[in-house]
C-alpha cells in the first residue's frame, strides 16, 4: 500500500473569461500543470502570493472544480471525473475549512444546525439524540461549549467562528482536511489559538492536513512539506525545514527575504523583486518568473524549466539554481537575536501562566469566548 493519500498529476484549470459583445475571450491559466503528492498523516502546505492559484488548486483537489486536464488520486482512486454517490463519499473523507469565518457560515443557522447538518448528510444512521450528542462532542473538541449550539454565528468572534468551521469540517470524520487560509483573517493572538487547535486535532484524529497560506511563518510552523507556487505552477517543493534553511528557487529566496521579522536591528539582504506578478491570462514565456527574476539570463525567456530534483527530496524549477546557490552560500534565515535575560524570564513566566489557564480546556478564555 502506498503512503500517499492524495496525488495530483499535471493538474490544470483554465477559465475562459470575457467573450461578451466585441470582447475577446481570454484564457486564465489559474492552475497550469501542478503535480503534488500528499503523504498520509502529514501537513502539506501550499504557499504563494495572491492570484498564484492556491485556492483554485485547493478546489480542484476537493473536486469543487473539475480540472481542465490532469489526474487526481485520493487513496489510490482516480477522482478527477467522479460524480454522484462517489463524489458524496469523497466529500465525507475530504473536508474544507475556509478563510473567511465571517462569510462562510450561514448567518441564519444556529451553531447546532451548522455542525449538525454535515452529520445528518454523512452519518444518516445517527438518531436525533445521538446527533445532538455528537454536536456537543465536536464543539468541545474545538474548544467551544455545548451550550454554544443554540447561538448564531454573529454572536461569535472571528476565532470562534473559525472553530465552528472546523467543527463542521470534522463532523463527517474526514481523513483529509484542506484549509484555504484558515488563519489568515485572524489577529496573531487568535491565530495562535487556532494553529494550536489544528495541530492538536491532527494528531488526535489521525488526519492529514493540507494548508494553504501566504504567511510563510505560519507555513513553517505548521507543515512538514511545502510547495511554493508562482503563476499557476509549483516552482519549488520539499521538506519544510530544508526549504526554509536552504531555499533554492529565486522566487522562494525573494519571498523569504521579503518577510519582515519581529526582531530589532536584523541585518539582511533583501532580494528585491521588480514589478508585480503578471496576469495568469498571459503568463510570460519560458520561465514564468523571468520578468521579475534578478538572476534571469537571456535563455530564461525561452526555455521552460522543469521541476527537477535538487537534494533531500527537494525539487526546483530553475535552470540556474546551482550557480545561484554557489554565489549565495547563506540564503536561509539566521536565527533570531536573543532577548534580554529579564525578557526571557518574562516570556517563560507568561508561557507557564497561560498554560495553567488553558489547561482547563473548557474555560471561556481558552475558547476565546466573550461571554
Amino acid at each position: 500500500m502506498t503512503d500517499l493519500i492524495l496525488k495530483a498529476d499535471g493538474l490544470k484549470k483554465h477559465f475562459q473569461v470575457g467573450g461578451g459583445f466585441m470582447a475577446e475571450t481570454k484564457t486564465v491559466r489559474a492552475v497550469d500543470g501542478v503535480s503534488i503528492e500528499v503523504r498520509r498523516g502529514e501537513t502539506f502546505a501550499i504557499v504563494g502570493e495572491s492570484g498564484c492559484g492556491k485556492s483554485t488548486l485547493a478546489r480542484l483537489l476537493m473536486r469543487l472544480l473539475e480540472p481542465t486536464e490532469g489526474a487526481i488520486e485520493f487513496d489510490g482512486r482516480d477522482i478527477a471525473g467522479i460524480r454522484g454517490r462517489d463524489l458524496r463519499e469523497l466529500r465525507r473523507d475530504m473536508q474544507f475549512v475556509f478563510q473567511d469565518p465571517f462569510s462562510s457560515l450561514n448567518p441564519r443557522m444556529s451553531v447546532g444546525k451548522l455542525v449538525g447538518e454535515p452529520i445528518e448528510t454523512h452519518r444518516p444512521e445517527l438518531s436525533r439524540t445521538q446527533r445532538r450528542q455528537e454536536v456537543a462532542r465536536l464543539l468541545r473538541t474545538v474548544g467551544l461549549r455545548p451550550e454554544h449550539a443554540d447561538r448564531y454565528p454573529h454572536e461569535f468572534s472571528g476565532g470562534q467562528r473559525q472553530r465552528i468551521g472546523i467543527a463542521r469540517a470534522l463532523a463527517s470524520n474526514p481523513r483529509l482536511v484542506i484549509g484555504d487560509e484558515p488563519v489568515s483573517a485572524l489577529d496573531v493572538s487568535v491565530q495562535a489559538q487556532v494553529v494550536n487547535l489544528l495541530h492538536d486535532l491532527k494528531s488526535k484524529l489521525d488526519m492529514t492536513l493540507v494548508i494553504i497560506a501566504h504567511d510563510l511563518a505560519v507555513i513553517r510552523h505548521m507543515s512538514d512539506r511545502v510547495a511554493v507556487m508562482y503563476l499557476g505552477q509549483v516552482v519549488e517543493s520539499g521538506p519544510t525545514d530544508e526549504i526554509f534553511a536552504a531555499p533554492r528557487h529565486p522566487y522562494t529566496l525573494a519571498l523569504l527575504s521579503a518577510i519582515p521579522e519581529p526582531v530589532h536591528g536584523r541585518e539582511r539582504t533583501r532580494i528585491a523583486l521588480s514589478g508585480e506578478t503578471p496576469s495568469p491570462a498571459s503568463p510570460p514565456s519560458g520561465c514564468r518568473f523571468h520578468t521579475r527574476c534578478p538572476f534571469a539570463r537571456e535563455d530564461c525567456a525561452t526555455r521552460v524549466p522543469e521541476l527537477r530534483v535538487a537534494a533531500n527530496e527537494t525539487r526546483v524549477a530553475c535552470h540556474y539554481w546551482e550557480e545561484i546557490a554557489a554565489t549565495r552560500p547563506k540564503a536561509g534565515l539566521t536565527p533570531a537575536a536573543a532577548r534580554s535575560e529579564g525578557a526571557q524570564r518574562r516570556f517563560a513566566l507568561y508561557e507557564a501562566a497561560t498554560l495553567r489557564q488553558t489547561d482547563r480546556p473548557e474555560t471561556a478564555s481558552n475558547a476565546g469566548a466573550t461571554t
Binding site: 502570493e49 495572491s50 468572534s157 472571528g158 476565532g159 489577529d187 496573531v188 493572538s189 487568535v190 491565530q191 495562535a192 489559538q193 494553529v195 494550536n196 495541530h199 501566504h214 510563510l216 511563518a217 505560519v218 513553517r220 510552523h221 526554509f244 525573494a254 523569504l256 521579503a258 518577510i259 519582515p260 521579522e261 519581529p262 526582531v263 530589532h264 533583501r270 528585491a272 523583486l273 514589478g275 508585480e276 506578478t277 534565515l333 539566521t334 533570531a336 532577548r339 534580554s340 529579564g342 525578557a343 524570564r345 518574562r346 516570556f347 513566566l349 507568561y350 508561557e351 507557564a352 497561560t354 495553567r356 489557564q357 488553558t358 478564555s365 481558552n366 476565546g368 469566548a369 466573550t370
Partner: protein
C-alpha cells in the same frame, strides 16, 4: 532639546451613546524623520486614534475629553476640527489600507493628484499637473505620462497604493499617518511600499505614524513603538527596547504568538480570549480579563510608568520577573 514635530497628550474620546472611552489617555511624541509605530490587535483603537489626529472622526458623534495636540509648536484641542481641517492634506496627510478610501473611481489618477496640489498650493493648473507627474514618478509608477490618465480600477492593488501615497505626499506634508497601508498586499509588494515610504521620509524629513498589527513591520521601520490595547497605550518605548526588553504581558503575549521563521518549532503561546467590546472593558487595567497574571490589584488602573529611560509600561507587576518569580 529638539522640539518634537507632534506631541499628543492624554487624548481621550468616546462615541455618543457609549459608556466607555474608545481611546483613553493616549500620549506619545514624534520627531521629524522618525517613525512611530502603533501596534495592537484589531479593535484596539489604532484607526480611531489616527482619525482623531486627522480630524476625520464624525463630528456629531465623537465626544472628546481633555487632552491636547501640539503640532510643530502650535497647540490645539483635539476637537478643533476647523483648525485641523486647514492642515489636512497639506501639512499632514493620511494613507489607508484600502486605497479607494482616498481615490475616486470616477476620476483619472493624475487629475486627482493635481487637484490635491491645487487645493493647497497657490499654483496654476500646469504647475499642479507637473507636480502630479513628478510624484507618480517618485512613487515608482512606470511610464507616469501614460498612467496619468488611468482610472484607479485599471491599476493593480500595489499600484493603487503607490498612487495614494503620491497623492498624500504631493504637498510635502510634515506628518504622514499610515493606517495599515500594506496589510492587504503580498509580502514582496509590501517590501517595496515600505521601502518607498522610508525613501520619501529620508528625502523630506517628515515624521511618520505607522499603524499596523504586524510586529515584523514594526521591527523593520519603527523608531518608537506604542503598544495599544483596548484604547490605552500599555507600553511605549524605543523600538530597540520594546523588542529586546518587552515588559507588558500584552506585548509579551503578542510576541509569543507569532510563529518564528527560524530556530526550533515549538507550540505557540497565545493571548487567551479576545479584545472586549466597548462597554464590556474591565475597569482598571483593561487587559485584566485576558491577562494570565491578573490579580485583585489590577482592578485599579496602572500608570504608564517609566521602567527604563524612555520605556514606559502600564502594569502593576512590571518588571514581571522581579515581582512574580518569587511567588511563582
Amino acid at each position: 532639546m529638539n522640539q518634537p514635530l507632534l506631541e499628543v497628550e492624554n487624548l481621550r474620546f468616546r462615541f455618543r451613546g457609549q459608556e466607555q472611552d474608545v481611546v483613553q489617555d493616549v500620549s506619545f511624541r514624534l520627531g521629524r524623520n522618525e517613525t512611530l509605530c502603533i501596534v495592537g490587535e484589531s479593535g484596539c483603537g489604532k484607526s480611531v486614534t489616527a482619525l482623531a489626529l486627522m480630524g476625520l472622526l464624525p463630528q456629531d458623534s465623537v465626544q472628546f475629553g481633555a487632552g491636547r495636540i501640539r503640532f510643530d509648536g502650535e497647540t490645539f484641542a483635539p476637537g478643533d476640527h476647523d483648525r485641523i481641517a486647514k492642515m489636512r492634506g497639506d501639512r499632514m496627510a493620511m494613507i489607508f489600507q484600502e486605497p479607494m478610501t482616498s481615490l475616486n473611481p470616477a476620476f483619472r489618477i493624475g487629475d486627482q493628484i493635481a487637484e490635491a496640489v491645487e487645493r493647497h498650493r497657490n499654483c496654476g493648473h500646469a504647475a499642479a499637473r507637473a507636480r502630479a507627474l513628478e510624484m507618480l514618478g517618485k512613487v515608482g509608477i512606470p511610464a507616469p505620462e501614460q498612467r496619468f490618465d488611468a482610472y484607479p480600477h485599471q491599476l493593480s492593488g500595489g499600484m493603487r497604493q503607490r498612487v495614494m501615497i503620491a497623492m498624500a505626499l504631493a504637498n510635502d506634508p510634515e506628518l504622514l499617518i499610515a493606517d495599515e497601508p500594506t496589510t492587504a498586499l503580498d509580502v514582496t509588494v509590501q517590501a517595496q511600499i515600505l521601502e518607498l515610504i522610508a525613501e520619501l521620509q529620508a528625502e523630506t524629513g517628515m515624521g511618520t505614524i505607522m499603524i499596523t498589527h504586524d510586529l515584523g513591520v514594526v521591527a523593520e521601520i519603527a523608531t518608537n513603538v506604542a503598544v495599544m490595547y483596548a484604547g490605552q497605550v500599555v507600553e511605549y518605548g524605543s523600538a530597540r527596547s520594546i523588542f529586546e526588553n518587552p515588559q507588558h504581558p500584552y506585548t509579551i503575549g503578542l510576541m509569543a504568538s507569532v510563529p518564528s521563521l527560524t530556530g526550533p518549532r515549538r507550540r505557540l503561546s497565545t493571548v487567551p480570549g479576545v479584545v472586549p467590546a466597548i462597554g464590556q472593558m474591565p475597569e482598571g487595567c483593561r487587559f485584566s480579563s485576558r491577562c494570565p497574571f491578573a490579580a485583585p490589584v489590577c482592578a485599579a488602573r496602572p500608570d504608564l510608568a517609566e521602567q527604563d529611560p524612555g520605556h514606559r509600561v502600564a502594569c502593576h507587576f512590571a518588571p514581571l520577573e522581579q515581582t512574580l518569580e518569587r511567588s511563582a
